[in-house]
């Protein structure tokens, strides 16, 4: 068993093997993603009941919550990939880390944008410097920092170390974002979906939200794999198997 895991791990670390295997699974993942996102969006935007106080404007949670969740989870993924690249010096981990940065930046930006659009009708303001919103903005800058660092060095060997260290330092921000609404007075309301204890959302509204969250997880995996494949081709363009492919 251990031996099997070890060989699998080593094969996974080979860009060529990853490229071919992921290519086989991509169509299925894409189909599942589209199915989940389309059905979740229709269910959430069209059929879920409206909120007693916020009316229809609450429906932006079907985008806002999934993109925010993935922005936070994606950061851990990027940092773990960075740690693996740093410790085991695996090229593929470096490629995953670099591919996760622009994706995370876009998701964080979308979370801030949808939150801002939601904030105007409910709170009465587009932007307020409260702990949740500010720490989320810091997350955007961390993603952009990793992205900038990965392009700033001519030597790949220096670049991945700098990116990995910045990603690891930035992990401090994730629990701060998550707990900010409990630790300080903020304009943003506390968490609705709790990991422990009951959620304060009606099941008829929660089910489509869950579909959207799972759909966005699939979407994240899909885009990350596509990004990583592009990165593999870019870096391995001189190798024989890539030349054969193109």
């Amino acid at each position: 068993m251990w031996q099997f895991l070890k060989t699998w791990y080593h094969r996974l670390a080979s860009p060529k093997w990853f490229y071919h295997t992921s290519g086989r699974w991509l169509p299925y993942l894409a189909a599942v993603t589209i199915l989940l996102l389309v059905s979740g969006a229709i269910w959430g935007l069209g059929f879920a009941p409206e909120d007693a106080r916020q009316g229809n404007s609450y429906r932006i949670i079907y985008i806002h919550v999934p993109v925010s969740v993935l922005a936070l989870v994606g950061y851990y993924l990027m940092a773990v990939a960075g740690a693996i690249a740093l410790i085991w010096k695996i090229k593929l981990a470096d490629m995953v880390m670099v591919s996760a940065a622009p994706l995370g930046a876009v998701l964080t930006f979308l979370a801030l944008l949808t939150g801002s659009i939601w904030g105007k009708p409910t709170w009465g303001t587009y932007w307020e410097w409260d702990a949740r919103i500010t720490s989320m903005l810091v997350l955007l800058f961390l993603y952009l920092g990793v992205l900038a660092l990965s392009r700033a060095f001519t030597s790949r060997d220096t670049a991945y170390k700098a990116c990995a260290i910045l990603s690891l330092v930035g992990t401090v921000n994730i629990p701060i974002i998550y707990k900010s609404v409990d630790w300080w007075y903020t304009l943003h309301q506390p968490a609705t979906i709790k990991l422990t204890g009951g959620s304060t959302i009606h099941p008829a509204m929660f089910k489509p939200l869950l579909v959207m969250i799972i759909g966005f997880y699939c979407f994240y995996a899909l885009v990350l794999i596509l990004n990583t494949r592009a990165e593999i081709l870019r870096r391995e363009q001189r190798s024989a198997w890539v030349r054969e492919l193109i």
Binding site: A52, R53, W184, Y185, L187, T192, I201, H202
Partner: protein, 155 residues
């Protein structure tokens, strides 16, 4: 695990731990400044400064809201359960502003003991319920409150 890898693993753990400690200490030192608003108790106990732009937040006291008949001046009070702060505001309130719900006001705390707001924001809660469910819940609460009252001997 090879020695070099073990050392790099320790380095990674070291980076995360030191960064967490550093940021944790900074946040602990700044803990009062990170709060978006003062609570009514902090304002009434003199913790909040006079005549500078601050924010105060709390629940809008039920029955405290009134609007002048000839202008847009609105007055209400916010509370945190321990103290109340009267707020005066001229302008349009957000749709979700209501008595019994949370609100945050931006403005100046005057020496006359009135908070002169330039901006009022509503703070919505984390509950999402369909209107029918919310209505049913309110009805149930009313029935329950009525039952409690009728039980009281002096009523």
């Amino acid at each position: 695990m090879k020695k070099a890898r073990k050392q790099r693993l320790l380095l990674v753990i070291f980076i995360v731990v030191v960064a967490s400690l550093g940021v944790g200490l900074v946040l602990y030192a700044l803990r009062d400044n990170i709060n978006l608003f003062y609570s009514p108790l902090q304002v009434q106990s003199g913790e909040a400064p006079f005549d500078t732009r601050i924010r105060v937040g709390g629940e809008v006291v039920t029955g405290s809201f009134s609007r002048a008949s000839d202008s847009l001046i609105a007055t209400f009070a916010v509370t945190d359960g321990a103290a109340q702060v009267p707020v005066q505001y001229q302008g349009i309130l957000p749709d979700l502003f209501a008595e019994g719900e949370d609100a945050v006001a931006v403005g100046r705390w005057s020496r006359e003991g009135v908070f002169e707001a330039e901006e009022v924001m509503a703070k919505h809660d984390e509950e999402y319920t369909p209107p029918e469910v919310a209505e049913a819940r309110e009805q149930a609460e009313k029935v329950k409150a009525g039952a409690d009252q009728s039980k009281r001997p002096d009523n």
